[in-house]
């Protein structure tokens, strides 16, 4: 059973934290995620959430505080953006290596310089190798869903989960959001029972020890296996969540892809705008579709390959650049997944768009389905900037 509220993504995120019963939050507010941190502070003040908020002096400390709390055996989370996530980076890798189930919300925002507080995926993509499970919400409602799922996912796989939601187009946009009751949500999330806790005095352990060449490779390998195993657990949790909310949560959403000649692949809120574009093109008889990924790390390689294999052309939209690489990060992954096809691989074209809050307009989105009409867009094997004034 769900009830609806009219709220921003930040409010939906804070509500999911409350519904999940987070016990320790280490927060250093940063635009565009600030309102979520504020809402949680009010929840704690008003007795709606029984959590300890640690107001830290920076994001590096936010993550170390989360790691300490997580090691002590409580449900732990933080919220950040952009520079904050980068400042936190060192500890995000460490939390993943120590296999700590910290939930990190990232309201995705461009990285300085030049300084920009608006949305793109530069911050999240800089963390894609950290070893976290990385989820991308398409709407505020899905942000609520994914954040609730993030806790049992993190605690089962024993890895940090980063839930990414677009700055402003999700964080600040108010829409109708259907949420679970707190009891229902709490039942879904379950009680966190850490397998090994620092404060288990009868069986104390050392976490993050020094580890030479004789074990480091094995530690990394087991981390890779854990990350890979999370896809199946995410699918199970998605089904369990659907039973309560009536909303299916899958690793990827294929929209009009069956029999499509051209399929666009993307992450995040642009899926909303793109859906309208697909509908319009379908009305004119164009066989076009869209694949949007809720789970980016681990990359659902087999599912992506299956969804795209029948297409003649795949167009990948990256909302960040992987400087110096042939393509943006998502395009690199998609190409790599398709390379395993034995024959007749779809042709892949990659575009960089939406940087620093430059939201994709429907006309611009239309263009990517008519590549042959525009010499500045067609013919390139490396990433092409879609909206740039050259």
């Amino acid at each position: 059973m769900t009830s609806t509220i009219f709220c921003s993504g930040n409010t939906a995120a804070a509500l999911a934290f409350r519904h999940a019963g987070v016990e320790v939050l280490a927060l250093y507010p940063i635009t565009p995620s600030t309102a979520a941190a504020e809402a949680l502070a009010l929840d704690v003040r008003d007795g709606l959430l029984d959590a300890e908020i640690i107001p830290v002096e920076g994001e590096n400390s936010a993550m170390t505080a989360c790691m300490g709390a997580s090691l002590a055996g409580v449900r732990t989370a933080t919220i950040t953006s952009s520079q904050g996530l980068l400042y936190m980076a060192q500890q995000v890798f460490a939390a993943a290596g120590m296999r700590l189930p910290v939930v990190i919300l990232d309201s995705t925002r461009a990285i300085s310089a030049p300084l920009n507080v608006n949305g793109d995926h530069g911050d999240a993509m800089a963390m894609r190798a950290a070893g976290c499970i990385q989820l991308f919400a398409r709407t505020a409602e899905e942000l609520y869903d994914l954040t609730l799922i993030a806790f049992p996912l993190a605690e089962t796989v024993r890895l940090p989960v980063m839930v990414c939601y677009d700055g402003f187009s999700i964080s600040h946009t108010m829409t109708r959001v259907a949420v679970l009751s707190e009891d229902d949500a709490r039942q879904f999330v379950g009680v966190y029972r850490p397998a090994d806790a620092l404060l288990a005095l009868d069986a104390p352990r050392t976490f993050g020890p020094v580890c030479g060449p004789h074990f480091y490779t094995e530690a990394r390998y087991s981390q890779r296996l854990a990350l890979a195993s999370s896809l199946a657990i995410f699918a199970e949790l998605g089904d369990a969540y659907a039973a309560r909310s009536g909303r299916a949560i899958r690793t990827l959403d294929a929209y009009q892809t069956v029999g499509a000649d051209d399929i666009v692949v993307l992450l995040g809120s642009t899926a909303g705008t793109m859906r309208g574009v697909i509908d319009r093109l379908r009305e004119t008889g164009r066989a076009v579709g869209m694949l949007s990924l809720a789970c980016y790390r681990p990359f659902p390689e087999a599912e992506v390959r299956e969804a795209l294999q029948g297409a003649a052309r795949v167009i990948v939209l990256d909302r960040s650049d992987d400087m110096g690489a042939p393509q943006g990060p998502l395009c690199t992954d998609v190409r790599s997944a398709l390379y395993a096809l034995p024959a007749k691989r779809p042709h892949v074209t990659g575009f960089i768009y939406g940087l620093g809050g430059r939201e994709l307009l429907p006309d611009e989105a239309m263009k990517i389905f008519s590549l042959d009409d525009d010499p500045t867009l067609s013919g390139s094997e490396s990433a092409t900037y879609l909206q740039v004034r050259r």
Binding site: T31, P114, V117, N118, M174, T273, E359, L361, E364
Partner: protein, 302 residues
């Protein structure tokens, strides 16, 4: 109902995000769908901001800025000078303006087809005692949606209740005075309809600015008014005027200007004000020694 797109143009601190939020929330409460997206950067008081509100019978999926608004709500008439405010206006668009002028005059003056006007600042000053035009404009907006845009009987009353509730956390006086501003906005808005076709740029991503090939490396700046940085000139309600006969070039103003808007020659002489970079804070006039009084602040005309 079809989808309606409302674009709010305001300055930071006018309270227009609050108005847009109350409006969208109450539209959503009628059962149809609404979405509200504020667009602002590192917003400061006086900075032009935009808020998009969409309402529709179906769930709203698109997240891009509104390109062709059915209505724009402008909380400061001087904002109409900005190309992004006029962007996408058509002969169908209704323009709701905070202005003391008659709508027929405003329609002629700005070349607009459908103008609704209201002295929202005047109403706010009288009712609330503060120059926030947001709630009176909300009243006017709700009135303008009564011709079938929000097809729900009793909608104005529900928004009025929401206004009262929103300010109820402050004080009973704040709640009742804002309710009065809302009611007066609803009652006093005047409308003029002609068949003019407004000349409007179709500006997708703000105003056309420098190309990548024209940027200095690292997007570094020599002057704040360089093409790729948003100019602050449109923020100001007053601008400094230098009387060059009185200026003794002491340059007290120069280091204190937060926007590097004081132009100084290589010889160390003040040569003028860069009005594109000035946001009208008045610091220069305040620090100009009284014995010279070379810089005075002049209110911008409506």
């Amino acid at each position: 109902m079809r989808t309606f797109a409302f674009r709010f143009h305001a300055r930071g601190n006018h309270g227009m995000v609050t108005s847009a939020e109350i409006f969208a929330r109450q539209v959503d409460a009628t059962g149809v769908y609404a979405s509200m997206t504020p667009h602002f950067g590192a917003a400061k008081a006086g900075e032009p901001i935009t808020v998009d509100v969409r309402i529709s019978a179906n769930p709203i999926m698109e997240v891009h800025p509104i390109i062709a608004p059915d209505m724009i709500i402008v909380s400061d008439q001087t904002l109409l000078a900005l190309p992004e405010v006029r962007a996408g206006l058509s002969e169908e668009t209704v323009v709701l303006l905070n202005s003391r002028m008659l709508p027929s005059y405003l329609a002629r003056e700005y070349g607009l087809a459908h103008v609704a006007a209201l002295d929202a600042t005047g109403i706010a000053l009288a009712a609330v005692g503060r120059p926030y035009p947001n709630i009176a404009l909300l009243g006017a907006l709700v009135r303008l949606t009564q011709n079938g845009i929000v097809p729900k009987a009793g909608f104005p009353l529900e928004v009025a209740r929401a206004v009262h509730e929103h300010f109820g956390g402050g004080s009973r006086l704040l709640a009742t005075s804002n309710l009065r501003a809302f009611e007066q906005g609803y009652d006093r808005v005047q409308r003029s309809d002609t068949a003019a076709a407004p000349s409007a740029p179709r500006v997708p991503h703000s105003v056309s600015r420098a190309r990548a090939s024209e940027l200095s490396f690292g997007a570094s700046l020599a002057r704040l008014s360089e093409a790729f940085v948003p100019t602050t000139g449109a923020w100001s309600t007053a601008q400094p005027i230098v009387d060059m006969d009185k200026c003794e070039h002491c340059l007290f103003c120069w280091p204190l200007c937060p926007d590097k808007a004081i132009a100084v020659s290589a010889e160390g002489k003040l040569t003028g004000i860069d009005h594109d970079a000035c946001k009208g804070c008045g610091i220069c006039a305040a620090v100009c020694p009284p014995k010279f009084s070379a810089i005075t602040m002049k209110e911008k005309l409506e």
